[in-house]
């Protein structure tokens, strides 16, 4: 008897759930597209106001968020298929606008970096100010391997990840002797040391950086070439767009799997209370070092793609400011919430670009917008949610 009631309820809710999912995803993609293509300042401001209004609505009416989440949970399959489809066809809607594609690629790479840092800052509350440095180590490792040893892009990817992870562990081990603000200081120092080394060593090209990183190719298709498909022609940036999107997909999958495992729980326990975590049998030192390793691993992937995309890297791409920006993305987006972190990364990558009319006051304006969003949503755009088990 209860089974029939259940199926009845589900079938009744199935259609609205699918509709809610489709409306949310398509609406979100359209909003992003409009923002990417908006050039007139009034348009940009109007879109920002619209986003602010949406978040205010979510804050005032928590039921809307619950409803959307429920719909996504019910129509998981549809949500994934639709999301992948949107990502795949997205460049076709940008009308060959290479600048919009470029912004999108940088946003995707920063999303990966923010997700990498989220393993530490969001999950385990480790204030790591060196994500920019591990990002740089990844970029330099792959660039050096490609320029001097002629390695292909695909071979440098894992190599850079391994080298950066080793550095991550190297940073993690001394960091374990400190905590909180002191730990933050150690990571800041590490970031500065790396930046200075890149700046002063001769084999890293010094302040001039490394030039002429060869474009990757896949199955004979060079990433310098535009993509031609069904009579459509996508600019060459589209290659890197798909690559970055695939990397972000990998990062999301890793974040989800770790979050929904014993490892994610252990990190959360350490964040909440380190001493109590120890007394539950959690090897706090190991889990913290592990977080450094995972962060470095993902950041190196992003670094490699960045190096090959721009084909020129210099120490100034990997400064302390980059680390702070990544950290702000995690905090503004919402600690330990994948969607929130990605949104934070997109917002903070695109805002400074879209507000160029304010020229010198641009960063001031970005800060004001960030503060406004944090007033609307004090715990970040999408804060952490409780885990549920057994399909609930």
């Amino acid at each position: 008897m209860s089974t029939t009631t259940l199926t009845h309820v589900q079938s009744r809710a199935a259609l609205p759930a699918g509709l809610t999912v489709a409306a949310t995803e398509i609406g979100g993609a359209a909003l992003l597209g409009a923002f990417l293509l908006a050039e007139a300042t009034p348009m940009v401001l109007a879109l920002l106001a619209l986003m602010g209004g949406l978040f205010a609505a979510l804050q005032l009416r928590p039921l809307i968020e619950e409803e959307i989440l429920r719909a996504f949970h019910e129509a998981r399959g549809l949500a994934t298929v639709l999301a992948v489809t949107i990502v795949l066809i997205y460049p076709f809607f940008l009308g060959g606008n290479t600048y919009a594609l470029h912004l999108l690629i940088v946003s995707l790479l920063y999303s990966v970096l923010a997700l990498a840092l989220n393993f530490q800052l969001g999950s385990a509350n480790i204030p790591n100010f060196a994500t920019g440095a591990t990002y740089g180590i990844g970029a330099y490792t792959s660039a050096l391997l490609a320029i001097h040893l002629g390695w292909s892009f695909w071979a440098t990817l894992p190599a850079a990840a391994i080298v950066a992870t080793v550095f991550g562990f190297l940073l993690g081990i001394p960091s374990m002797r400190t905590r909180d603000s002191y730990l933050a200081l150690v990571t800041i120092a590490f970031g500065i040391v790396i930046h200075q080394m890149l700046n002063n060593l001769s084999w890293t090209g010094g302040p001039n950086g490394l030039v002429g990183i060869p474009a990757p190719s896949l199955l004979g298709h060079s990433f310098m070439q535009p993509i031609e498909l069904f009579g459509f022609r996508l600019p060459s940036q589209a290659n890197f767009y798909y690559l970055s999107a695939a990397l972000l997909g990998l990062a999301i999958l890793s974040a989800k799997r770790l979050h929904e495992s014993r490892v994610g729980l252990a990190w959360n326990a350490i964040r909440a209370d380190e001493l109590a975590a120890k007394c539950q049998g959690i090897n706090v030192v190991w889990y913290k070092i592990l977080a450094f390793g995972v962060d470095a691993f993902l950041a190196a992937f992003a670094g490699t793609i960045y190096a090959f995309y721009i084909s020129y890297i210099s120490p100034d791409n990997f400064t302390f400011l980059v680390s702070v920006t990544i950290m702000t993305m995690v905090i503004v987006g919402g600690m330990d919430n994948t969607l929130g972190v990605i949104l934070g990364a997109f917002l903070l990558t695109m805002l400074p670009e879209k507000l160029r009319v304010f020229s010198d006051y641009r960063l001031l304006f970005v800060s004001v917008v960030v503060i406004l969003f944090l007033i609307l949503r004090p715990k970040g755009l999408f804060p952490q949610r409780q885990r549920h088990y057994g399909g609930q």
């Binding site: 326990a269 209370d273 109590a276 007394c279």
Partner: protein
């Protein structure tokens, strides 16, 4: 005869010149409740921190079922089968009640980062099984906690926080549970419920022992099999509560020399 569950021999620690605990011997048998009493600052919580590996003793040994565990890091001792609660309860406030209990199972689950990434099914299955067990444990402790299992632990009132801490301790399937002032901040009714909880947990888990630091004399009089009195970092008495309370040196420790003389 088999080795006792817990055996402390000559256990001591000094912080610089201060001897916080000195030459404490203590034996805990399986399926027993031992209460540790003593004035504030006597070294009771320090003793717990030594047993659970938060501090390293400067002298003496700790043995669990005959195995030396002196100086092991806290997480290893927890995995060996000693669980504890804290004087001011330390829950994972922003995590759900259920997650708090599941984290208690960390020591006896295995998923590592590679399994989580590459074999998500195995990882999810393990955590799913943990969630089921955690629900059973919660239901055994309190129906209300079970009903509220997806709410964050931080919003619970004091008595429920203690219950949840005990549930989390049970989740590791320990052989010994250390409770640090479990009745602090509880009224008489909550304390009675706490004692009932402890007795029920003992009945459900044969072999499990409790070591309890307590100030509430009603609990100390009723619950334990034996009482240990600590003063100025030394064990000054041990035995049944009815006998221990009559010892002059125990009265002295609690009431002072003069009061005892006038009594």
């Amino acid at each position: 005869m088999t080795a006792p569950l817990l055996q402390l021999s000559g256990l001591g620690i000094r912080f610089g010149g201060i001897v916080a605990l000195d030459g404490v011997d203590l034996t805990v048998a399986p399926s027993t409740i031992t209460c540790i009493i003593g004035p504030n600052g006597a070294g009771k919580s320090t003793l717990f921190n030594l047993i659970t590996g938060i501090y390293r003793p400067t002298s003496g040994t700790v043995a669990l079922q005959g195995e030396d565990i002196t100086g092991l890091p806290a997480h290893r001792i927890a995995t060996r089968g000693i669980a504890r609660t804290f004087q001011s309860s330390r829950l994972f406030e922003d995590l759900s009640i259920l997650d708090n209990v599941i984290i208690g199972m960390h020591g006896r689950t295995r998923t590592g980062v590679l399994t989580a990434l590459l074999r998500p099914k195995a990882s999810r299955r393990e955590l799913g099984a943990c969630a089921k067990q955690a629900e059973t444990i919660l239901r055994g402790i309190s129906d209300e906690l079970h009903a509220r299992r997806y709410e964050p632990a931080g919003i619970l009132p004091q008595a429920d926080r203690r219950r949840l801490e005990i549930a989390r301790a049970l989740a590791s399937r320990p052989r010994l549970i250390l409770l640090d002032e479990p009745s602090s901040g509880m009224d008489d009714r909550d304390t009675a419920a706490l004692m009932a909880d402890i007795r029920r947990v003992m009945a459900d888990n044969p072999g499990l022992s409790f070591l309890i630091i307590e100030h509430d004399m009603r609990l100390v009089a009723e619950l334990p099999d034996s009482v240990v009195v600590i003063d100025y970092g030394r064990k000054i008495a041990e035995g049944a509560f009815a006998e221990v309370r009559r010892l002059p040196r125990v009265q002295q420790a609690y009431l002072g020399q003069k009061a005892v003389e006038h009594a």
